[in-house]
């Protein structure tokens, strides 16, 4: 038998378990599982990401910021030049979050920088004739007016940061109103004042840009008629040219393979991306410092979106929003990696045998527990194994609007309601995997509360009683007795809870509060606010990593929490309220079941996953 090591000087590993991480890139091994030789290979692909909070286009983003720290400021939600917004969304690589609004609503605004030092400028204040020279900086938490740009200009392109920026091109309405005044002019900003730079080779607006003030690249765009490579009198004038700026001079470099304007740039001068463009093309090209190469195409073609990240970096690049038309909120993530990324999503699970809402629930995605609910008021209990529900022993006291905690084989159901008035309950029952047993009551009646924890270390919190007053206290359960826990900062009802007794999280509530509170076993502290305040939803995870989904009125909205802030996640398939969830599940493997009106459906959330791209080596 030929000795591979003797020929190539290297051994091939014999592995009983296939490689699975990015470290497996380029490594040849023998898979004992499949009895094949395999190798980890790099692929470049876009995958779906969570949608923006609202679709918009023609705003500013941070092309050069990492793919885990993006920003989308200003723009238009209307798809024309008559409306502008000042909304700001940040992107953390997993989802979008709402941030403080810009001071001035504009579309055609552009920006660049980092998540803590960014410069946005120019644009149009509707109506269309009101061009803006206003500049604003972003420091990671707020917008501040900066020295006005020397020109009232729209659809310019920016590289650098708030204290070292270069702005090139754009539509200079004042200099050439109505004549197609795409400018060659270049300006630099140092954080307080503007200075002129050398003109770029061609007049253009709506280019893509990437890089910093002393090492940037500008590409594509709408050419000034008759200027440089642009035709003399086009109605649509896409450019393929690209120019680099070194802080002083412009150098024309290799052209894009596909001429376009409305292209969204990302990356740095040595690793840039030209994403989409007019008319909503899916084309994506990568610049490696010397030439442009066509790469994998977008799932949704679009122009003038919001992007960031360097394509070849570990975190890759992303684009959100833009216009197809219509304006979209969809997001896509690009990775050139040995890992294949599979986007997070909800899928349908097995249906409950008894549809219901205002039910109790706990457990995990593969070991869920549903009990009680209405209509009609029931004590029915069902167990979920990851694919189907099986009926088990009924609660002794039928009711709805209760809540529970624990596992599928060791759970607690507490409080709730059953008419006639006063129907609020204090009864508590424990479940052992087959039947329910009455145990010590709550100190007082309570309904529409939330709960978290395990049978021997659980808590119930929030809710209200027969007097219609919200309940302030938290009750802790040790498996036998109830004792008072820490007081909450926000008293409300219809909240959701998840986690353990020492990592519990309380989310949302009455009047669509956006409140989040975290419990450490003794006291509640305020956490980050929801992007979309709501109530009667469900949650999974802990105070360090939670998922909050659905809510009144039958929302599909899903948000993820990282211990500090909430950001968007893929929407549920069917909007639900008054349902239950996997309170001791995780933020990446969650379960939702039941809901109004008497629904029997189940939905399962799986977070983004990665897997090593493995190719089987053949001898032919």
């Amino acid at each position: 038998m030929t000795d591979y090591k003797a020929i190539h000087g290297k051994k091939i590993k014999f592995l009983t378990t296939d490689l699975s991480t990015a470290e497996g890139e380029g490594e040849v091994f023998y898979s004992d599982t499949d009895k094949d030789f395999k190798v980890g290979v790099t692929t470049a692909a876009w995958s779906a990401g969570p949608a923006m909070l609202a679709g918009k286009t023609e705003g500013g983003s941070l092309p050069t910021s990492p793919s885990t720290a993006g920003l989308a400021g200003g723009g238009s939600t209307g798809g024309d030049w008559t409306t502008a917004v000042n909304t700001t969304y940040s992107w953390n690589g997993s989802g979008w979050s709402s941030e403080p609004n810009m001071n001035v609503a504009r579309l055609g605004i552009r920006g660049n920088g980092t998540s803590t030092s960014a410069l946005f400028l120019g644009g149009v204040r509707p109506p269309v004739s009101t061009y803006s020279n206003e500049s604003e900086s972003w420091n990671g938490s707020s917008w501040t007016a900066e020295t006005a740009h020397p020109q009232a200009i729209s659809q310019s392109s920016v590289a650098g940061t708030e204290t070292a920026a270069v702005v090139a091109g754009g539509y200079d309405y004042v200099a050439a109103p109505g004549t197609g005044g795409r400018t060659r002019e270049t300006f630099e900003y140092d954080g307080s004042s503007w200075t002129t730079g050398n003109n770029k080779p061609f007049g253009a607006s709506n280019m893509g840009s990437a890089g910093v003030q002393t090492a940037s690249i500008f590409f594509g765009g709408f050419g000034q008629p008759g200027d440089g490579t642009a035709p003399s009198s086009p109605s649509s004038n896409p450019l393929s040219s690209a120019e680099e700026y070194d802080g002083t001079n412009w150098t024309t470099v290799g052209s894009l393979n596909t001429a376009r304007y409305g292209v969204t740039g990302s990356g740095v001068q040595s690793d840039a991306g030209a994403i989409g463009g007019y008319p909503a093309i899916t084309n994506f090209e990568r610049w490696d410092g010397s030439s442009w190469t066509n790469s994998s195409t977008l799932g949704t073609g679009r122009q003038t979106g919001f992007a960031g990240g360097s394509p070849a970096s570990t975190d890759g690049a992303f684009i959100g929003g833009g216009q197809t038309p219509p304006i979209v909120a969809t997001t896509e993530k690009f990775h050139s990696s040995a890992l294949a990324y599979t986007a997070a999503a909800w899928a349908s699970g097995g249906n409950l045998n008894t549809g219901r809402h205002n039910l109790g629930g706990t457990g995990t995605q593969t070991a869920g527990l549903a009990f009680a609910g209405t209509p009609p008021v029931t004590g029915k209990t069902e167990e979920y194994d990851g694919s189907s529900w099986t009926e088990s022993g009924d609660l002794n006291t039928t009711r709805d609007a209760l809540h529970g905690f624990g596992t599928q084989t060791a759970a607690v159901g507490a409080g709730g309601y059953k008419s006639p008035s006063p129907g609020f309950k204090a009864e508590v029952e424990e479940y052992d995997g087959s039947s329910w047993t009455e145990v010590n009551n709550l100190p007082a009646t309570r309904g529409q509360h939330a709960a978290a924890g395990t049978l021997t270390a659980g808590i119930v919190f929030r809710g209200h009683d027969a007097s219609d007053a919200n309940i302030e206290n938290t009750q802790e359960y040790d498996g036998t007795n109830w004792t008072a826990g820490g007081a909450m900062n926000v008293n409300t009802r219809y909240s959701s809870g998840a986690g353990t007794q020492t990592t519990a999280i309380a989310i949302g509530g009455e009047d669509d509060t956006d409140s989040t509170e975290e419990y450490d076993g003794s006291s509640w502290t305020n956490g980050g606010n929801l992007n979309t305040g709501r109530h009667s939803a469900a949650a999974s995870g802990t105070s360090a990593a939670a998922l909050y989904f659905g809510g009144n009125p039958n929302r599909t909205t899903t948000e993820g929490y990282d211990g500090t802030s909430w950001s968007t996640r893929p929407a549920m398939g069917t909007g639900r309220e008054d349902m239950a969830g996997s309170t001791i599940g995780t933020s990446v493997l969650a379960l939702q079941f039941g809901g109004s009106p008497g629904a029997n459906t189940t939905q399962e959330f799986t977070g983004e996953t990665t897997a090593l791209n493995l190719k089987t080596i053949t001898d032919s």
């Binding site: 219509p326 999503a345 899928a347 205002n358 398939g573 009106p597």
Partner: protein, 103 residues
């Protein structure tokens, strides 16, 4: 080309829509009411995979207006039910159900 397809198909549970389906096309489910029966109303992205999804599930295609009527009927039923609750039950249940406009 229309952005969405509208249809009715009973959610049969596990596998009715998969993670892959959700990545391949837009899909939103709503509770509808057809006479005395509750039905599952779906708004589906108008691409080939979306169209095949509805057909594979023996769904019945509807116009947007027909789909909206079904959803509105379910909301109306929920509102009527809410109106019939006692004050205590209303407080327990939460706000009166509001109208839903499908995309």
């Amino acid at each position: 080309m229309a952005l969405f397809i509208y249809g009715v198909a009973a959610n049969t549970g596990k596998g009715f829509f998969t993670h892959e389906d959700r990545r391949n096309f837009f899909l939103r489910g709503y509770t509808g009411k057809d006479g005395d029966d509750y039905v599952d109303v779906w708004v589906i992205g108008a691409n080939e995979r979306g169209a095949c999804w509805l057909a594979d599930r023996n769904g019945t295609e509807k116009t947007k207006s027909e789909a909206q009527t079904l959803v509105t009927a379910a909301v109306t039923a929920a509102q009527n039910e809410w109106d019939g609750l006692s004050d205590e039950q209303k407080a327990l249940r939460g706000p009166r159900p509001t109208a839903i406009s499908i995309p």
